[in-house]
């Protein structure tokens, strides 16, 4: 893999850490928008609720699964705060307290 590329499928599921090395959660989604004719990643979603964005539709009809103990939050991180490094490395350039955390 060349240094100026990253593979989204290999980043999926990797642990994301903030600037202090604290684990925020796993990378579960990347939001793409077309800006000036280019498809670009504008936001990274990290944490358990980000996974539910993909597969969580069933909770509406089987709400009893919400009783299971799992963390009910995600971080929505703008691309400006994210550094995509070597294969599998995703780091956030700020401390987690400064990030936007969304509760389910």
């Amino acid at each position: 893999m060349e240094l100026h590329e990253a593979h989204a499928e290999r980043l999926l599921g990797t642990k994301v850490r903030d600037v202090n090395g604290e684990v925020l959660g796993r990378l579960e989604e990347m939001i793409v928008e077309v800006i000036d004719g280019e498809p670009v990643v504008t936001e990274f979603h990290v944490g358990p609720v980000a996974l539910l964005e993909r597969i969580g539709g069933f909770l509406e009809h089987m709400p009893y699964f919400r009783l299971l103990p799992f963390p009910k939050w995600e971080y929505r991180i703008p691309w400006t705060d994210v550094e995509l490094g070597e294969v599998g490395r995703v780091t956030v350039k700020v401390a987690k307290e400064r990030l936007r955390r969304v509760e389910e």
């Binding site: 999926l12 599921g13 993909r54 597969i55 539709g57 069933f58 509406e60 009809h61 089987m62």
Partner: protein, 405 residues
Amino acid sequence: MNKIFQIALGIVTSVGGFLEIGSIATAAQAGAGFGFQLAWSILVGTICIAFLVEMSGRFSAVSKHTIPDAMRERFGVRFFAVPLLVMLLVSMLTLGAEVGGVAAALKLATGIPLPVWAVPVGLLAWFILWRMTFSFIENGVSLLGLVTLAFAVAAYKLHPSYAALGKGLLPTLPTHDASKYWFGAVSVLGASISPYLYYFYSSGAIEDKWDESYVPVNRAIAAIGMGFGGFLSVAVLVLAALIFHPRHIDVQQYEQLTGLLTPVLGRPGFWLFVASLGIACIGATLEISLSLAYLVAQGFGWRWGEDLSPRRDARFSLTYTAIVAIAVLFPLLGLDPLKLTNIAMALTAASLPVGVFPFLILMNDKTYLGKHTNGPIGNGVVLVVSLMAAVLAIVSIPLEIIGGG
């Protein structure tokens, strides 16, 4: 074809295609060991598979996806690899038993040893898949399977106590041989709720170009077709309960299964059994082979379609070719189809949650189904039954092994 005719054909082919060596053997063993007492496991299994088949048809008709297609898409390949491998492993054992079942029928008919028939049976199954169309397999072979109605006729002629049978449809605790009882229940559930059935049905809905207008048709076929099919399994259990159970005959060899029909129907009963076993198992062989080939091809995005010539979907065609070739090895190497059936059915039950849970997640996803997502009853029935089957299997399989079963 109008919808009424399609419903009728769908029901008839569901009935004709319901029995195979798994359901025949497990129902016979259950009846021989416990009389009517395990009839409830057939009822529970049939209700569950009826729900699953209805769901899979609805899923494909509305979303235009098959189950493997949606599983890969929604959960990703690393997750998809788990049900893919589990289903391949467990279904290959079942397929080996089905090929063995056809070979067993031919051995009964001719006296020629079972392993000799393994390769010809494999070639026959492969040729049908290679040369014939989906309609031929779905309808033609299943219509021939109506010969299995012989079990219902024979059971009726024995005048069972319907009150006693009714009692057997309610779950009860065993009075003896508890580990064998629960293993019997697990085996019946595994035979009834085989994942290849509803995966095949899902792909069949796409092969037949179903759309949202087929949702009511699908519901009728699943409920009535599977219901009547389950009724045939109960007929096998009744026969075993009335013929084997009073004589304390334990069904350990497939040759014993001819005793289900011959006492009632005489010599023609023998030939009806041979035809039933042979046709039911060749039908299951074709279904399982296709189901696994669909699973692989759809999971990897290949061209697929039983109505396509093999040269147009080479990977799909060679996948089912390889699957049939591997399955032939089981009877060729002398593995007894009845023993293989017992192992396969128990493992099927134990692994049910692996295939069912992700499917239930999909069935409740509005992006695929819009207003046609599952209701609470369907969710509840399938969730509870598959969990129950798995727990029972995990508990009873080791006990049965320890007990020398």
